[in-house]
């Protein structure tokens, strides 16, 4: 196992490389207010991060990553375009796998630039590919933005599109919603009975709690409207299913997605962005002919990526998390900036895993 001193030295070297690429080194406190993360991820964050509290500041979290504080710092004081680098400990609660580290050093690189998103995506990926090149890792890429564009373009009710968007990062729930909206899963009997009832509240006990009878009635009205909405279009559904299965080298993936766009024309602008990114990656010296692209990649992690996503994996260490991950998170900046969006892309590396891999070789 590499020593802490080795890991810190490697982290410093990586940060130096990122500074030479134009990044400003930044620091963030280890203790972060928990509210922002709870707001973004809900209770799940408690299973993945260490929360603590005091009577004065309320709930605090040991930073599970740097992205959120760096975005907040940039929004408060940064000028554009901006590039940042950082390194330090992050803390991840582990409840299932005692072999996974609950504290490790991360080094990151983030780009805030609204002029050339494809160029910024390619810049980050190429920089990571360069510093990881000696390790012979497998790179995976994807683009959550294509799936989001497909959902936004479905010819169904706005309520259904919103429900699908809300669960885009929960693939199983997403699937269940599609089955419900397409009529593949019939509505539960209790719902059918509720909608058929002339007096839905007959025989129930008094109203208690903060969720009011009005809210219950509003949901019944929403269920009624949903029951009247036609099933999802079969052609769009099979196009969506085909989209989720695309797993190819980047240029072939784009070709398949162009075919799918015949039935899902809403994804065309996202595909144009993919095209621009592939060109920009090639211009940065990446062999795009050999680069894997999976349309479904990046959907199960809790991250906030909503466009380009990537990860670098060591096939010699199949049980370990990826050595590096990253992606585009425009929606996070919109959320944290109260609708003031700053397009942003970045990624993180684990110098400890890099050293372990080098020792194995």
């Amino acid at each position: 196992m590499p020593t802490r001193a080795d890991i810190l030295a490697r982290a410093a070297a990586l940060r130096d490389r990122f500074e030479r690429a134009g990044a400003v080194p930044v620091e963030t406190p280890v203790l972060q207010p928990a509210e922002t993360l709870l707001d973004l991820y809900g209770e799940d964050i408690r299973a993945r991060a260490y929360l603590t509290s005091d009577a004065l500041r309320g709930e605090q979290v040991l930073r599970p990553d740097f992205t959120v504080p760096v975005v907040q710092m940039h929004m408060a004081q940064g000028a554009e375009p901006a590039r940042y680098t950082y390194s330090g400990e992050v803390f991840r609660r582990q409840e299932h796998d005692p072999d996974r580290a609950n504290e490790y050093i991360q080094v990151g690189y983030e780009v805030f630039d609204r002029t050339d998103p494809a160029g910024a995506d390619a810049e980050v990926f190429a920089l990571f590919a360069e510093v990881l090149a000696p390790l012979n890792l497998r790179a995976a890429t994807g683009d959550i933005g294509i799936l989001m564009a497909a959902v936004r373009g479905l010819s169904t009710t706005e309520a259904r599109r919103a429900a699908l968007m809300r669960h885009i990062w929960r693939p199983r729930r997403f699937r269940a919603l599609l089955d419900r909206f397409s009529g593949k899963t019939p509505p539960p009997p209790s719902r059918t009975a509720l909608l058929a009832a002339a007096e839905p509240f007959a025989g129930t006990s008094p109203e208690i709690g903060m969720r009011s009878r009005d809210e219950v009635e509003q949901r019944i009205a929403a269920l009624r409207a949903d029951a009247e909405a036609p099933a999802l279009d079969g052609q769009e559904l099979s196009a969506l299913a085909a989209l989720l299965k695309v797993r190819e080298t980047a240029p072939y993936a784009l070709e398949q997605l162009r075919d799918i766009a015949v039935d899902l024309p809403s994804i065309t602008p996202a595909l144009d962005r993919l095209q621009a990114r592939i060109d920009a990656l090639a211009a940065h010296g990446i062999d795009v002919e050999q680069l894997d692209f999976e349309a479904n990649y990046g959907r199960t992690s809790m991250e906030y990526y909503d466009g380009f996503v990537f990860g670098f994996y060591a096939e010699r260490m199949p049980n370990q998390p990826p050595v590096a991950t990253g992606g585009r998170y425009d929606a996070l900046t919109r959320h944290l900036g109260r609708n003031a969006e700053i397009p942003a892309v970045g990624g993180v590396l684990r110098p400890g895993l890099m050293l372990e891999l080098e020792a194995m070789a």
Partner: protein
């Protein structure tokens, strides 16, 4: 060395545990004064009785400070994330039955399934500006269950007692709690979700997988297990 058997120190759970062992030829008794938590085991050589709170039994088993312990499935699953590798289930004892369930106000006629709950939570958050609150003391079990089910936009608020009353008091919108008959739920105008059963629990005898078992403890363990018909 002695083989240590941990048993709840109070109330019906203790009495029923004593009589369960008694029926199998192992007599557990409290010794000393009523207030002293000391006990004895007759019928098997080399076994010591440790009286402690049911809530502490999982921790003591996982630390290997006791070899055997009686407590509910709910407490083991809540407190030991890797319970399967830390403890072994020797025998369910057939009492202390309780289900960990999700319950919502009865007048929520629009909420019968987890699917409904997820949609209601989303609308609630949009309407009130905070996440739908679920009062419970079983944080880990509830969170994992809801994550598996893909329910979002809820918050767990801690409630160590009188949980059924939190909805009326407006400190939570719904609850996740242990129930045996559902009587208290009905009295508090709450109903079960159709697919909201998180765990079926009962008093169970567990063996620590991490405690040391020198030869004499091994022997005492196999004699005890044979007596209670669990060898």
């Amino acid at each position: 060395m002695t083989l240590k058997l941990g048993v709840p120190s109070k109330g019906r759970l203790m009495e029923k545990t004593f009589s369960w062992f008694e029926k199998r030829g192992v007599t557990l008794t409290r010794t000393g004064s009523d207030r002293e938590y000391a006990g004895a085991v007759d019928g098997v050589q080399g076994v010591a009785l440790v009286l402690l709170s049911a809530g502490e039994v999982p921790r003591e088993l996982a630390a290997g400070r006791i070899h055997l312990g009686v407590t509910g499935t709910d407490l083991v699953h809540e407190k030991l994330p890797l319970w399967n590798s830390q403890v072994q289930e020797i025998a369910p004892l057939g009492f202390g039955h309780a289900d960990l369930i999700l319950a919502v106000p009865q007048f929520w006629v629009d909420v019968d399934t987890l699917d409904d709950l997820d949609a209601a939570a989303s609308a609630f958050r949009a309407h009130h500006g905070f996440r739908l609150r679920i009062a419970t003391k079983y944080h880990r079990l509830v969170r994992e269950f809801l994550r598996e089910a893909g329910v979002a936009d809820y918050a767990l608020v801690d409630s160590q007692g009188a949980t059924e009353g939190t909805v009326k008091n407006e400190t939570a919108e719904m609850i996740a709690d242990i129930t045996s008959t559902g009587e208290t739920l009905r009295a508090n105008h709450l109903k079960l979700l159709a697919d909201g059963l998180i765990l079926k629990s009962q008093a169970t005898l567990w063996r620590s997988r991490v405690a040391p078992y020198p030869e004499e403890d091994q022997k005492a363990l196999s004699i005890l297990l044979e007596k209670i018909g669990a060898s």
